[in-house]
Subunit: 432 residues, 2 copies
């Protein structure tokens, strides 16, 4: 019998819980023996008292033990890599990184989630490709990573059921934004999915969950530590999310931009982040190359067309139409003109994300349907010089009315000043 | 629709909630629309953030509004008084106060609870009287207060159902010990039960919920403020619970001691507290007497036998046998001898309470049955001089084995020193 009330009280009073007790609490919850109301009180106590690094690791391990795990490296006889982002506006990094890394000979198998609120989801992006199957069996998933070099699917099997339960509970009890719980939630899924090396992209800023570099650093350190304790190689990139990433926000628009980037024609900031992530992944892989050499190989795979070739094989292996002309296109395109000339000093990620959600590109609640064609393409980003009357952005909408509303929202996201604005890199810091 | 998650978050972040939102949260919970897990997270947020005096009042009012209320004064055309204790070891004050106050011409109607853990419960004590009915209808209750002057029953009707739900939830989520929640729980029941003047006995010390005078003072102030805002007269007595109150601990033993006290033959500390409480109640009543005159009248009612006469009428009106020889007696009496001579410097209330519970006098869990005959009678209290080998206490047990275990526990509760121990009064402070 689990003395849940006693454990809640000890956590409430600031104690560090013994490994066995914390494990039993989590496994008991997953088995339905500890009721939601006790776990809700526990999560709120954790919100105020935190978890020690040791407790965070024990929580992560217990969540993993609540379900199945996958041994990707064992199945492939290779060191398999994975990549995860904490989520932001215009974040389609995985779509570009996967085929580039695979083209360099490193297997990348990824299980992704859907978007909620103003941040996009990799699965939603991929589902804008006609025919793309996000639900492969575990065997199909492993076979495709072996044969094609990469696969991106929805979570398969019974991985980390405790996280699914716990996340659902935290979502309705105001206990989502606690660093240790976030770290354990992300890492339990990554570790259970079996990659040996993981690059984590921790977004920082207005459009991200972590608003400050300091918070992002704490989360990155917690996740890197969990990876290390589980014997995996983990590197965290802290990257800017004060403005949207790249130019495209909205599912098919982002797929197109990812493909353009794989072909070497992507926006500067997005290309920079994709190549940074690829370089880190290749350096962690069993190629045993340095980061500089990794970056060189990634650039070469883009330049010589091998990354685009893997893109095509990957999309087709999962049943999708690799031809970009098959992507859905919104019936209305509406230009947002710059009201004055000057330099873009700010381009609020959340406002652009909210505009995209209102167009139908994202979900307000879990059960909302998504319009894959709609979204926003930004022609001017922070630091860019703009001329009055020339286009700042293009709205891709279902109808004129929706387009006008989104245009107002996007325009409000821009701040334009007379003076030149200093550059700020997309990659802010590396942890691990 | 109640935005419970949002309200939890605002409380979590230290906000004061608007009256209407907090009311709706509580009423929604009572209606079953807000689930236990959200209320559990809310209670834990309150544990860390507290409630403002305003919020505490709104919470109390909302809990009262969740069920029926009784207008005692309206029904009787008199100012009805009530008395409540936060609970301690050997606390049988209500049993003695009720008939004395009634004998002075002031109606006292009280709804009581059962004991849990080491503190006794008034209903459990009364149920050791053969035939005593704790479940009267509301009409019977009011009629008896009118005709006999007093009645003590279990909670009747559908009073404060939100408190019952909330208390049950707090009990299993480590959110019981929060001052505002305690104050609201106690006062919602007192206010709903309809007395116009209330004396609250807030126990302080080892055997009480409040361990320090400061905590007790805060709780007393919170409850007095709630009473005032509801237009009732409230006085709080902060009284000592470092040692048990009086000599008897255990249900029929306590009934006997209460009756002895009503006859003027009770232990000094208990008699002092009973007369203090009576004096306050009479001073708050519609007799319009001062406290000194109230005390004089209470002493007179004890001295002239009128209080004992009311005791008899009261017990018989509720179906009980007023004759003390009808009370159950334990088969085994076992003396605890003083191991050394000296002065009692400490007599730990919790240890004595735990000994009584182990004998069967109290409940460890809500569903435990009670042995009304067993308990402990203390012959030496703090400050008393004791001789080696002479009895410190008598254990009243079901069998020899239980008696020996209890004797060890009671002996361990005593500390005996060579030097004389300074006196400490039972009444520590008055608030309100």
């Amino acid at each position: 019998m689990i003395r849940a009330a006693e454990l809640i009280q000890r956590k409430r009073d600031g104690e560090e819980l013994p490994d066995a007790d914390l494990t039993e609490l989590i496994l008991g919850y997953a088995r339905g023996e500890v009721p939601d109301y006790q776990m809700a009180a526990f999560c709120m106590a954790v919100f105020f008292r935190g978890l020690s690094p040791r407790e965070t690791y024990v929580l992560t391990e217990a969540m993993i033990r609540s379900g199945e795990t996958i041994d990707m490296s064992g199945a492939l006889g290779r060191k398999v890599v994975d990549k995860h982002s904490t989520g932001g506006v215009g974040d389609k990094t995985s779509l570009a990184v996967a085929p580039i890394v695979a083209a360099c000979g490193v297997p990348l198998g990824k299980m992704s989630g859907r978007g909620l609120g103003h941040t996009g989801g990799t699965l939603d992006q991929l589902e804008s490709i006609p025919g793309y199957r996000t639900e492969l069996s575990l065997d199909e998933f492993i076979a495709q990573v072996r044969e094609v070099g990469t696969a991106i699917i929805g979570q398969t099997g019974d991985l980390v059921p405790a996280d699914k339960l716990l996340y659902g509970l935290r979502d309705v009890t105001a206990t989502v934004d606690q660093l240790s719980l976030i770290a354990a939630s992300i890492m339990s899924k990554k570790l259970a999915a079996g990659a040996q090396a993981i690059v984590l992209d921790v977004k920082v800023g207005d459009g991200a969950f972590m608003k400050t570099l300091e918070d992002a650093r704490h989360l990155a350190e917690a996740m890197a530590s969990l990876g290390e304790q589980a014997g995996r190689d983990v590197v965290c990139l802290l990257t800017d999310m004060d403005q949207p990433l790249g130019a495209a926000v909205g599912n098919s628009l982002e797929v197109l931009e990812a493909l353009d980037t794989v072909r070497g024609r992507g926006p500067a900031d997005f290309t920079e982040l994709v190549l940074d992530a690829c370089a880190k992944l290749l350096a962690l892989s069993d190629l045993e190359v340095g980061e500089a050499e990794g970056r060189r190989r990634a650039e070469a795979a883009v330049a010589d067309g091998s990354a685009e070739a893997v893109w095509r094989r990957w999309i087709e292996a999962q049943g999708g139409t690799a031809d970009e002309s098959a992507l859905p296109v919104a019936p209305v395109q509406h230009e947002v003109a710059a009201p004055v000339g000057g330099y873009v000093s700010r381009l609020g990620a959340i406002r652009v994300g909210v505009a995209a959600v209102r167009l139908g590109a994202g979900r307000r609640t879990k059960d909302d349907a998504i319009d894959h064609a709609v979204g926003v393409v930004l022609h001017a980003k922070r630091g860019d010089r703009v001329e009055a009357g020339l286009p700042l952005a293009t709205i891709h909408a279902r109808d004129e009315d929706a387009a006008r509303h989104a245009a107002d929202e996007v325009l409000a996201a821009y701040e334009i000043e007379d003076a030149e604005v200093p550059e700020r890199p997309v990659l802010l810091e590396v942890v691990g």
